[in-house]
């Protein structure tokens, strides 16, 4: 890990009193490499390192550590702050007048349908009445997938297999939710590329039609440099509320989390920690920071 890599550097520089460019040069290099290996976007790394370096220079060094060690701590603390802060507790307060409407969007295969089930369970286990809406009209058996998830969770699913209009399905589903006095509506949408104009227009129209209270960008934790491109475009088109980061049960370092946060300014709120519907947790900035730094 980063601390092991820098132990040699630490030993040599103990006893210096202030952080200077010279005495953290090696540490800066190592941090930069660690972030790039963690898949943090190139431009984000550049900007982040410059910011942290600026904040660190001139800082007086605590007696028992070396400037490089102190710099690493400043890096870690800054990373935690950017990711949400050490006391961050994501929450989804419900609207005073139901239903609270949630929409999920994102690239193909990122985990939207599974996350729709997970969010459904998150609310239904607190006694809330949830409706899942199957608005993916393209992927073979996408509707079946959400129906199976709903059935296993004892949650209603609105679908219309004959309908080839995602906007209509969302609208009709919302109508049904109001009639059925649902507390929460969760709309699953088809995976799409941020550069597919027709499909981006479709998801914009779904949003305009149902006016969600929360719009999530669902992103795969193993996403590489491209994370910035997709997140920026989805945020520009949909004004997302926050991010659900999936498949964090793998060993990808998850630099995409920092890239997405930097690019959109939007909060990371939940993480998927497995394929089961109970494998869903609140996002923890400090755990993510340690994971990214390796």
């Amino acid at each position: 890990d980063l601390n092991e890599k820098l132990s040699g550097v630490f030993k040599r520089l103990k006893g210096e009193t202030r952080i200077s460019e010279a005495n953290i040069a090696d540490a800066v290099k190592q941090v930069r490499m660690a972030l790039l290996e963690a898949d943090v976007n190139y431009k984000v790394v550049k900007s982040f390192i410059a910011g942290v370096q600026e904040a660190a220079l001139g800082e007086s060094v605590i007696k028992s550590v070396s400037p490089a060690q102190q710099f690493i701590k400043i890096v870690h603390d800054n990373l935690v702050d950017i990711l949400g802060g050490k006391d961050y507790t994501p929450s989804l307060p419900l609207k005073p007048i139901p239903p609270t409407i949630i929409m999920l969007s994102g690239l193909q295969g990122s985990g939207k349908t599974t996350s729709a089930g997970k969010l459904g369970r998150y609310f239904s286990k607190d006694g809330k009445n949830v409706l899942l809406i199957a608005a993916d009209i393209y992927r073979p058996a996408a509707i079946d997938q959400l129906e199976v998830l709903g059935k296993n969770l004892n949650i209603d699913v609105y679908s219309d297999k004959k309908c080839k209009d995602a906007v209509k399905i969302a609208r009709d589903g919302l109508e049904y939710a109001k009639k059925a006095a649902k507390d929460i509506v969760i709309v699953d949408t088809a995976g799409r590329l941020h550069i597919d104009e027709e499909l981006m227009k479709e998801v914009e129209n779904v949003k305009k039609t149902i006016s969600p209270d929360y719009t999530f960008f669902v992103a795969d934790a193993m996403t590489g440099q491209d994370a910035v491109n997709a997140a920026t475009e989805f945020n520009n088109r949909l004004e997302i509320t926050g991010v659900i980061l999936t498949k964090t049960d793998g060993d990808a370092r998850g630099g995409a989390a920092l890239s997405i946060r930097y690019a959109t300014g939007k909060p990371l709120m939940f993480i998927g920690t497995g394929e089961k519907t109970e494998e869903f947790e609140l996002f923890h900035p400090d755990r993510m920071a340690s994971r990214i730094l390796g």
Partner: protein, 278 residues
């Protein structure tokens, strides 16, 4: 870095940004830049305007430096086992491969080896219906090895040319799931009396450096001998392909560039590198 007159620090930084943003990885990027810089210092790369060509050539050489895959059709059926992490594009890629073989006049059968995920077998069955190709499946929750066993037994008895077996997405960090894959592979070999001819890992081009770990772990587990790189119709460049070829000596067999059954083409190093620069 296009249009620069000399190889200076700014050009090298632009080069580095280009390579890293393509997901080639920081260490591989450093090596490639070092190679370019050495050629310039040695004089084999005379001017900076040639740098784009030199880079394209270096990348193409790296991607071509792997033994070409030999489609050995000696034994029948020809079996392709498809594996990979969750959501990479396995099931869709199988539909594309099936379409390709069917268009080449082969009889094809599909095996719905994902018995775990909601509606996984339904998804493959729908593709089979569109392709008019038989799909062998069992109830959800069955042992995937049992489906593979039944599927291959049926394929042999029906004299099928090509069998493509789908498996559930799984993270390489999950030991029990990797063991399940090992078992599936063993059962397949037992039924066939020969190892599957193609063991393909499907990798998502939008994934970062973790794709290399995935490929390595799957290769160690079931002798993966080829890669399908999907979602290249997006903005990700799939630069991890360089490390996969260079460090694991795995050939990239096909690339996926869309969600329809025609959106698959054989990998071509020059075209792939050209697309990186667009």
């Amino acid at each position: 870095f296009l249009g620069k007159k000399t190889i200076d620090d700014e050009l090298l930084e632009n080069l580095e940004e280009f390579l890293i943003t393509a997901d080639i990885g920081p260490q591989a990027a450093d090596m490639i830049i070092e190679k370019i810089r050495t050629e310039y210092t040695r004089g084999t790369l005379k001017d900076a305007e040639r740098i784009t060509d030199a880079l394209k050539q270096t990348l193409t050489e790296i991607l071509s430096d792997v033994e070409e895959f030999n489609e050995d059709m000696t034994n029948k059926p020809y079996v392709i086992l498809v594996s990979g992490v969750n959501g990479a594009g396995k099931t869709t890629s199988i539909a594309k491969l099936a379409n390709m073989y069917k268009n080449a006049g082969k009889s094809v059968m599909l095996i719905a080896g994902d018995t775990f995920r909601a509606a996984a077998a339904d998804q493959l069955a729908e593709w089979g219906r569109r392709l008019d190709i038989p799909v062998i499946r069992k109830e959800d929750g069955s042992d995937p090895a049992a489906v593979i066993h039944d599927g291959l037994t049926s394929a042999k008895s029906k004299n099928i040319d090509v069998v493509i077996a789908d498996t559930a997405g799984r993270l390489h960090t999950k030991h029990n799931l990797m063991q399940e894959l090992v078992k599936i592979n063993k059962v397949a070999e037992k039924v066939l009396t020969y190892p599957v001819q193609e063991s393909i890992i499907v990798l998502d081009a939008t994934s970062g450096q973790n794709a290399l770990t995935q490929a390595k772990m799957f290769k160690d587990a079931i002798n993966v001998n080829g890669v399908i790189l999907t979602k290249l119709d997006g903005t990700a460049k799939g630069g991890i392909a360089l490390r996969i070829v260079n460090e694991l000596h795995l050939p990239i067999r096909y690339i996926g560039f869309g969600e329809s059954m025609e959106d698959l083409r054989p990998f071509n190093a020059e075209n792939f590198v050209e697309a990186m620069f667009n």
